[in-house]
């Protein structure tokens, strides 16, 4: 609230914003505005989310009964493969960076746009092309290798559209690289005057760390997938044991990307949570620099642990021990974040608005997901629960309970800024509760199933697993409703929702304090000059205490 320049424009007439600047199709499909590209991403990731969700519905329907009665084993293989592929490569990886990151990283640092607006648009097109190629592979027969494409099954034996799917994933990888590259350069070079590194919102730090992973990891996946496609199409032999090739090498290269990719999915979610916790506790985030650096620490440590996916692959047991120990290290920065968010809540004036409901859900579910990750990182215990539903439950707690909850929370939090409309608050809270209940009912039984020894990726199972599976399927249907509700009322709000003020939450940050709602094409009426750190919620505190807090940051 220090620079008076931003609020000078009188608002008698409805002002031009990025949505009303131009209504033509062309203006959307050829836009270089990071906000419109964010909206394009929002539309497409939502489409892929419901496509992946459709596969999940079919999976849970099949698993509602012990017999394999709804689909054949082969069909089931394709269903879980395509569920994983769509959700990971076409929803989780691009969701928060593509939608919220694209929209808000430039605004939060006071820039007019991303550093490379056309590359940004290109990244969406590349994503869509990759998505369409994979979609083509899905509707022309599907793929059954599991999303991990393990050789030599994928390279030699599978009778499904492996090559075409691989090409789709390969293409989409470049979209991720372009997004990452763009965010890195934007954060380095586009910050407004006064926006120092340690005044940046933690959302931006999280996206910076994510982008580092994107540009370091994704190319390795790209070359691996390319080799796989070559192996499959031309039998060049690179992963073929007959010629002395090693399928485990495929796993090394694959997980060099795909483990860090887990952090591509969760780090932006952590960034969202940092914003929301501070905004709805009316309090500066506890230990700002620890949370900021823990993002970078996760990005770096995430590259040192991939072998914990390969404990039972024939990998050297000595390498396994090293990977196991290093995996435990990743828990430290993750725990730093969880503790700091909890400490931020402590003595804050907590408001349980809809986004905050998702935050509370996230904190619990992410903690469970993280702690069970430690079980799995433990070399000995992993032998027992490897490839069981325990693993499935673990990563769904992180990915769905963590990343998707944060995405929904962030979407609700920034929805008024993005579209200038408020959604119905009571319905919002209700669906957050539905999502939470549905989620736990779906996935908690899977921990038990896994611990009891039910392997993943089978379409039929012994009778004694029946009750827990029915619970899980019932939970999934509740979860599905929990996802459809926000979709319905958010769309409803676009037309019928009340107009949003510039800062409906009374939150700090350039996007609320300086940018109009919805923002104009260049985000601000004048380039903001930043004079204070992020989360300056100290106004409510007595002056002395607020000065102490400011010095601490």
């Amino acid at each position: 609230m220090t620079a008076p320049s931003a609020s000078a424009a009188p608002s008698f007439a409805p002002r031009d914003n990025y949505l009303t600047a131009d209504y033509s199709w062309r203006s959307w499909l050829l836009t270089v505005d990071h906000k419109r590209i964010g909206i394009l991403y929002l539309l497409s990731v939502t489409g892929f989310f419901f496509l992946g969700g459709l596969f999940a519905v079919l999976l849970r329907l099949e698993l509602a009964t012990p017999q394999g009665d709804l689909v054949q084993a082969e069909t089931y293989n394709k269903l879980f493969t395509m569920h994983g592929l769509v959700m990971i490569f076409f929803f989780l990886v691009p969701s928060i960076p593509g939608v919220l990151g694209n929209f808000f990283v430039p605004i939060m640092i006071g820039a007019k746009d991303m550093a490379f607006p056309r590359l940004n648009l290109l990244s969406w097109y590349v994503y869509m092309i990759g998505g369409l190629v994979s979609f083509l592979a899905i509707i022309t027969g599907g793929v059954d290798t599991g999303w991990t494409f393990y050789a030599p099954y994928s390279s030699t034996y599978a009778n499904s559209n492996v090559a075409l799917t691989a090409v789709g994933v390969f293409i989409t990888g470049f979209s991720s690289i372009l997004t990452g590259l763009n965010i890195i350069v934007t954060v380095h070079k586009m910050r407004a005057p006064g926006m120092t590194w340690f005044r940046m919102p933690l959302f931006v730090w999280a996206h910076y760390a994510t982008s580092v992973i994107m540009i370091l990891g994704t190319p390795v996946l790209a070359i691996t997938i390319l080799l796989l496609a070559l192996e499959r199409l031309f039998h060049i032999g690179i992963f073929d044991p007959k010629l002395g090739g090693d399928p485990v090498l495929f796993q090394h290269l694959f997980w060099f990307y795909s483990h860090p990719a887990v952090y591509i999915m969760i780090l932006p979610a952590m960034g969202v949570i940092s914003e929301l916790v501070a905004a709805f506790s009316r309090k500066r985030i506890f230990g700002y620099s620890f949370v900021a650096f823990s993002s970078l620490a996760i990005a770096v440590l995430g590259f040192l642990v991939w072998g914990h996916h390969m404990f039972l692959s024939g990998q050297s047991v000595y390498a396994g021990v090293v990977f196991s120990v290093l995996s435990f290290l990743v828990a430290i920065p993750s725990a730093v974040k969880v503790f700091n968010w909890s400490a931020t809540l402590y003595k804050g004036s907590v408001q349980l608005s809809t986004p905050m409901m998702y935050v509370i859900g996230f904190l619990g579910l992410f903690t469970i997901g993280g702690l069970t990750g430690l079980f799995l990182a433990c070399l000995g215990l992993d032998v027992h629960v490897h490839d069981t539903y325990f693993v499935v439950a673990h990563f769904h707690y992180i990915m769905v309970g963590g990343a998707v909850m944060a995405f929904l929370g962030g979407l609700h939090y920034w929805w008024p800024k993005m579209f200038g409309k408020m959604y119905p608050e009571a319905l919002g809270k209700f669906s957050a509760v539905v999502v939470f209940i549905g989620f736990n009912l779906t996935f908690f039984p899977q921990f038990l199933l896994g611990y009891l020894g039910m392997p993943r990726r089978y379409h039929a199972y012994p009778e004694e697993f029946g009750v827990l599976n029915v619970l899980s399927s019932a939970g999934a249907s509740i979860l599905g409703i929990g996802y459809l509700l926000p979709m319905a009322y958010l769309l409803w709000s676009l037309r019928y929702g009340p107009e949003a003020e510039q800062n409906p939450w009374g939150a700090k940050g350039l996007e609320w304090e300086k940018a109009p709602t919805p923002p104009p094409t260049f985000n601000f009426d004048a380039t903001p000059i930043v004079t204070q750190e992020a989360y300056a919620y100290a106004d409510d505190l007595p002056p002395e205490e607020s000065r102490t807090q400011a010095r601490l940051v």
């Binding site: 586009m190 370091l216 390795v220 060049i236 032999g237 690179i238 060099f256």
Partner: protein, 218 residues
């Protein structure tokens, strides 16, 4: 990295000044090169694993390559890097024909490299050294020698693909140079293309000894 060139002004709308724009483009290019390092990196990892597992087979297979052609190509590529530097230098001094000339020298050298590569590939084709079901090594069907050739073709093929892209960019820049685009972004574009070209050279500096020379001392 071409964001500034389609625009009419030298300064794209979202930058405050030319310095910010130039720094952003430079950093963007370097970030891209980081991805390139790891893109090739996957192949180098495979190379390290298989070569240490099958040293004999790799040395024998490597001896099928022609180190003279490889050596000449290395010199040609280093030469093209040198002329690229001269093109960047000329761009900084806004000497139109010098830019054009050095860019085209670079393109010609790059094409020569690709020509030699074609001769080598053709030779491998004739000797059934293309990995796949028809691979024959000294009359025998493929063993782990085939892994060497799978890596040889992946690595040099990916490298050659980068050369083709690079040559395309240089041709485009030479046209821009003739049109007299010497504002700051235009000059910077030559510099960015130079970074890319040198990176491609850099990869070859490692590929040459690793692929062509590992069995020569026997």
């Amino acid at each position: 990295m071409s964001d500034s060139h389609g625009g009419h002004g030298a300064l794209a709308h979202h930058f405050e000044d030319l310095e910010q724009q130039r720094e952003a483009h430079t950093l963007g290019m370097w970030a891209f090169l980081v991805t390139e390092i790891l893109f090739f990196g996957g192949l180098f990892a495979a190379y390290v694993v298989y070569r240490s597992a099958y040293p004999e087979a790799f040395a024998n297979a490597s001896n099928q390559l022609d180190p003279v052609l490889g050596g000449i190509n290395t010199a040609v590529l280093i030469g093209s890097s040198f002329t690229m530097v001269l093109a960047v230098h000329a761009a900084q001094q806004r000497r139109k024909w010098a830019i054009f000339g050095w860019l085209w020298t670079t393109i010609v050298l790059g094409t020569a490299f690709l020509g030699v590569k074609y001769v080598e590939y053709h030779h491998k084709w004739e000797h059934h050294l293309i990995p796949g079901p028809n691979f024959l090594f000294e009359g025998q069907p493929g063993g782990s020698e085939q892994l060497f050739f799978a890596l040889y073709f992946s690595m040099t093929g990916l490298h050659a693909f980068h050369m083709v892209i690079g040559a395309g960019i240089l041709i485009w820049l030479s046209v821009l140079a003739l049109k007299g685009r010497f504002d700051e972004p235009g000059r910077n574009a030559v510099e960015m293309a130079g970074l890319y070209w040198h990176f491609v050279d850099l990869v070859w500096i490692f590929l040459f000894p690793l692929l062509y020379l590992l069995g020569r001392h026997q």
